[in-house]
């Protein structure tokens, strides 16, 4: 098989990629044909990749830039591991053989109509565009002997060795479970006349151009393998190894998993009347009883995402149940992702469902739209977080609150977690640390990265849905998605679609969330009701004694103070309820710091609620949004008693043992 590999490549590339009868969905800018071998003794992946790259921009490319992500794991001075600060890894226990790397043995231009053969190996330069860290070798540049002109294609062959590290982050080997991601020399994105090729950072994911991946992997025959794309064929080499071939066009990455322990389950799923896809679940044997939950979660994700974001276009989906301690859980790659589960997970606890839906959802915002996760992480993470929260609730309802006691999950069915809670807590705790739109590695800390890229952006999406209304938001989101498939949208592109569907320029709204670091908090300041005293004194020429008004017709002057406590200014509705059960819904533009409403009526105000429809889910203090004249006084008694139960029992238990 391997002998025909190169011949096959020559047929496929360079510029006349036929895709073996398949029509690509988009321009295939960066195409990779790989022939690699996994050596489980040396923990290495060695082989060659043939790359064809087309300059799809209007500027000539004088250099080529590549990511060598695994060099982040070759020593503790890399930018990734410095930023990690030892949190996400067990570096202190790393031995000589545990580190990873990605080394290029040679890189050559293949002869073509536009280029002469040329050995580029000596021109490799490590680059550190983000922080200048000389120990970081995760990016290289190569000066070309001649520029790649617009629309011109260059063909390269690269010999490389990737050393599989112990699990560090998203990749590595653990107990014969190989999760192999970001493992090969991979081109950056040439755009705006320069290479967008960032170093590997702890708090960042990826960005790449679309293309075709045709990958042959040789490894021990006992291994079960899963990867991006279709499993085209496999051939027993007769030496205890098997070569597997995977193929996928119109994607921007390729990842794979291999382990002798994985169990494979495959189902064809029709998610619409004329649409099917093949779902493959690679499951750890000790999670066997979670098989149906995983598969149902994938099906729900495909079904709703197709409905809301456009029909899933690929013919395969591979979901991997990550091995324990492999650090590969909860990650997305084109057509291929990892979930995460716990063997005691009970129905109602959203594991593995939530993470499965989330990672599949990335297949849209990261996979199909190709958002730049280095520079606009929120456009993937935040939108995906919104999607997973919405899909989960549509499919399963609100999850129940649960907690582990002695490692055993215990559910509290009386407490449900509403969608409005998605992300609000981390936003509340970190709102003033950063603006949402930042390079992923330039947030104040990891917490702020999570709060902005995931939580705040998800809150923005839900807020937008409620502000615009489902009838506007849902078609808007679908249009944004399908229009930008395979096109790398930027924030302005999202703004444009939102404004188009809203029928107005929505920058006033989006700017505050995306480029601002203020918080949103509207509150009911106070309610006052004063009986209007009878008229007494001179009123023009008439003297009134105060006795003229008929008894029993008490009139009240009521005042409701609404306050804007945060920096974010949005129009709000205010609901006023009167003692005669009348209600009044008022609009306030929400610009100044406060607004007073006064009423004169025989009924007094009993309740005021600002934003009664809970449009602004990013309001960091929801409790102060309402005020009642007669609140239910039972609540603190009831819950103080619950806490007292715990306290008295704790004291008694301690005393039972301690004295």
């Amino acid at each position: 098989m391997r002998k025909v590999a190169f011949a096959l490549f020559l047929l496929l590339c360079p510029s006349s990629l036929s895709l073996q009868g398949q029509e690509p969905f988009c321009t295939q800018v960066a195409n990779y044909f790989m022939d690699v071998r996994l050596d489980i003794e040396r923990q290495t992946i060695t082989g060659k990749e043939w790359v064809t790259w087309t300059n799809s921009t209007d500027s000539p490319a004088l250099e080529l830039w590549f990511h060598l992500y695994w060099n982040a794991f070759q020593n503790n001075r890399s930018t990734f591991l410095k930023e990690d600060g030892g949190r996400g890894s067990d570096l202190y226990r790393f031995g000589r053989e545990d580190w990873g790397h990605c080394r290029i043995g040679s890189i050559q231009i293949i002869e073509s109509a536009d280029f002469d053969p040329f050995d580029l190996t000596s021109r490799i330069r490590f680059r550190q565009p983000d922080d200048g860290n000389p120990f970081d070798q995760t990016v290289i540049s190569i000066r070309l002997p001649q520029p790649v002109a617009p629309d011109q294609t260059i063909d390269l062959v690269i010999a490389f060795e990737a050393k599989v590290p112990k699990p560090v982050s998203r990749t590595g080997v653990h107990n014969q479970y190989y999760f192999i991601a970001q493992w090969y020399p991979k081109l950056g994105v040439f755009q705006d006349g320069e290479w967008n090729c960032h170093q590997y950072h702890r708090a960042s994911e990826y960005y790449a151009d679309y293309g075709t991946y045709d990958v042959q992997i040789t490894l021990p025959s006992s291994f079960v393998v899963g990867a991006t794309g279709e499993h085209r064929e496999q051939e027993d080499n007769g030496d205890g190894t098997t070569t597997h071939r995977f193929f996928q066009h119109s994607v921007h990455d390729f990842a794979w998993v291999a382990s002798p322990h994985l169990q494979r389950f495959t189902e064809e799923y029709a998610y619409a009347s004329d649409k099917t896809t093949e779902i493959t679940l690679l499951l750890q044997p000790y999670h066997r009883k979670l098989r149906d939950r995983y598969l149902n979660a994938v099906k729900n994700a495909v079904r709703y995402a197709s409905l809301w974001l456009g029909d899933y276009p690929y013919s395969t989906i591979t979901c991997v149940d990550p091995a324990y301690n492999s650090r590969s859980g909860g990650m997305e790659y084109p057509t291929f992702f990892t979930g995460g589960a716990y063997f005691l997970s009970r129905p109602g606890i959203p594991r593995p469902e939530a993470v499965t839906i989330h990672e599949f959802g990335h297949g849209y915002f990261y996979g199909l739209l190709g958002s730049n996760e280095f520079e606009q992480a929120w456009m993937d993470e935040g939108m995906t977080s919104y999607l997973d929260a919405a899909v989960y609730r549509e499919a399963y309802g609100d999850p129940v609150f649960w907690r582990n006691f002695f490692g055993i999950p215990v559910t509290f069915p009386q407490v449900r977690i509403p969608i409005e809670s998605e992300g609000i807590s981390s936003h509340r705790m970190t709102w003033n640390r950063d603006e949402m739109q930042r390079n992923a590695w330039q947030y104040m800390d990891t917490e702020s990265y999570g709060a902005n890229a995931y939580a705040k952006a998800a809150l923005l999406m839900l807020t937008l849905r409620r502000y615009l209304g489902e009838e506007v938001f849902d078609p808007m989101l679908k249009a944004y998605s399908t229009r930008w498939w395979w096109r790398h949208p930027r924030p302005s592109d999202f703004f444009a679609v939102v404004s188009e569907f809203a029928g107005q320029d929505m920058s006033w709204f989006l700017d505050q969330f995306i480029y601002g670091s203020g918080h949103l908090d509207y509150a009911v300041g106070r309610i006052t009701n004063r009986p209007v005293p009878p008229q007494k004194g001179w009123f023009g020429l008439e003297y009134r004694t105060g006795q003229e008004d008929r008894p029993g017709e008490q009139v009240y002057e009521s005042e409701v103070l609404i306050r804007r406590l945060g920096e974010v200014k949005v129009p709000v509705k205010v609901l006023i309820r009167f003692s005669d059960d009348r209600t009044m819904l008022l609009d306030w533009e929400g610009q100044y710091r406060w607004k007073k409403y006064t009423f004169r009526s025989s009924a007094h105000v009993t309740q005021a609620v600002v934003d009664p429809d809970f449009v602004y889910v990013s309001d960091i203090n929801r409790t102060n949004n309402s005020r009642m004249l007669k609140p239910a006084r039972l609540a603190p008694w009831r819950w103080a008693a619950v806490w007292l139960h715990w306290l008295q029992h704790t004291l008694e238990l301690f005393a039972f043992i301690g004295s």
């Binding site: 006691f405 509340r428 009642m628 008693a641 039972f656």
Partner: protein, 313 residues
């Protein structure tokens, strides 16, 4: 048989002196109430006059709780929906066995320490009262007993804490780091889960064993009128060493009674709807009955152990 006999004797004696149980219960609630009032104020402040009051009267407002948790630390941080129903019992058990109480807010830790000291003093009085035959079960005698044995009992309490610091804490830490090490190379999460449970069980058993020895040490101080803690401790450990089956069987019975009482309480509590003042009041009364029962079980244990001590000596 010896254990059962003395278990029944203990029941009889403790039931015949309910005032002692009441005293233990009163100390519990007196320590708990100031903290509960503090939390009550915090809850009331947080609820304010908002619609949350209605939602929290009828059920649990998860969004409000997140706000409350995020905006507060200290005592308020211990309030969580995980304290509902069986969660409260599991939580206090886990806090004890997995040393999570160390992360309690200072006021709670101080109150717990104060409570242990109070209970230590009371234990002297209770054992002294139980040790008296015939009349003399007056409050004065109780105080006399408490004061007379206070130095030794304080010493025993310190021994208990020392045993935690010197034996259980290092053992627990060692076992836990062994589990973590094993977990790193483990094929699945099942083995670490089982190992963690086993470690908890071992620590739990050792904890009880040590406390049982210290209980017999206390009894030795009272009924053998020992001034020397060392001699009392030798008497306590000697008794357990000579009669492991009887002493452990008695302890097992007491733990079983406690487990049954807890299960009964949780079942009854689940039957009470708490969406109205009557329900809340009924739940409170039931809770106090439960705490009273736990206090009774502790007194019952003292009495049974004292009878067993006498029986075996």
């Amino acid at each position: 048989m010896k254990a059962l006999l003395n278990f029944l004797k203990g029941f009889h004696q403790s039931a015949s002196l309910p005032q002692l149980i009441l005293l233990v219960y009163v100390v519990n609630i007196l320590v708990a109430i100031p903290l509960a009032v503090t939390l009550f104020d915090s809850l009331q402040d947080s609820f304010g006059d908002s619609q949350v009051t209605e939602r929290m009267s009828q059920g649990f407002d998860y969004l409000w709780w997140e706000e409350f948790r995020d905006d507060n630390e200290g005592l308020e941080a211990t309030f969580s929906p995980a304290l509902l129903g069986k969660g409260a019992v599991l939580s206090s058990l886990e806090n004890l066995i997995r040393w999570k109480f160390l992360s309690f807010p200072p006021w709670l830790l101080l109150s717990a320490c104060f409570y242990l000291v109070m209970r230590t003093l009371l234990a002297g009085g209770i054992l002294h009262t139980y040790s008296m035959k015939g009349n003399g079960h007056s409050g004065q005698e109780l105080l006399k007993g408490a004061a007379a044995h206070a130095p030794q009992f304080a010493g025993i309490l310190l021994c208990g804490w020392l045993s935690w610091l010197v034996i259980l804490a290092p053992l627990s830490s060692g076992l836990n780091s062994w589990v973590r090490h094993t977990a790193r190379n483990s094929y699945s999460e099942i083995a670490p889960f089982i190992l963690n449970l086993l470690v908890s069980a071992v620590i739990f058993a050792l904890f009880f064993l040590i406390q049982m020895v210290l209980d017999y040490t206390r009894i030795s101080v009272v009924i053998q009128e020992r001034r020397s803690l060392w001699h009392a401790f030798r008497a306590g450990i000697g008794l357990v060493a000579r009669h492991p089956l009887s002493t452990i069987a008695l302890l097992g019975m007491m733990l079983l009674v406690q487990a049954v009482a807890t299960a009964a309480y949780l079942l009854l509590r689940a039957l009470i709807p708490q969406d109205g003042p009557l329900g809340v009041a009924a739940a409170f009364v039931l809770l106090q009955a439960f705490i009273f029962t736990l206090a009774w079980i502790r007194c019952w244990q003292f009495s049974s152990q004292m009878h067993l001590f006498r029986y075996l000596n």
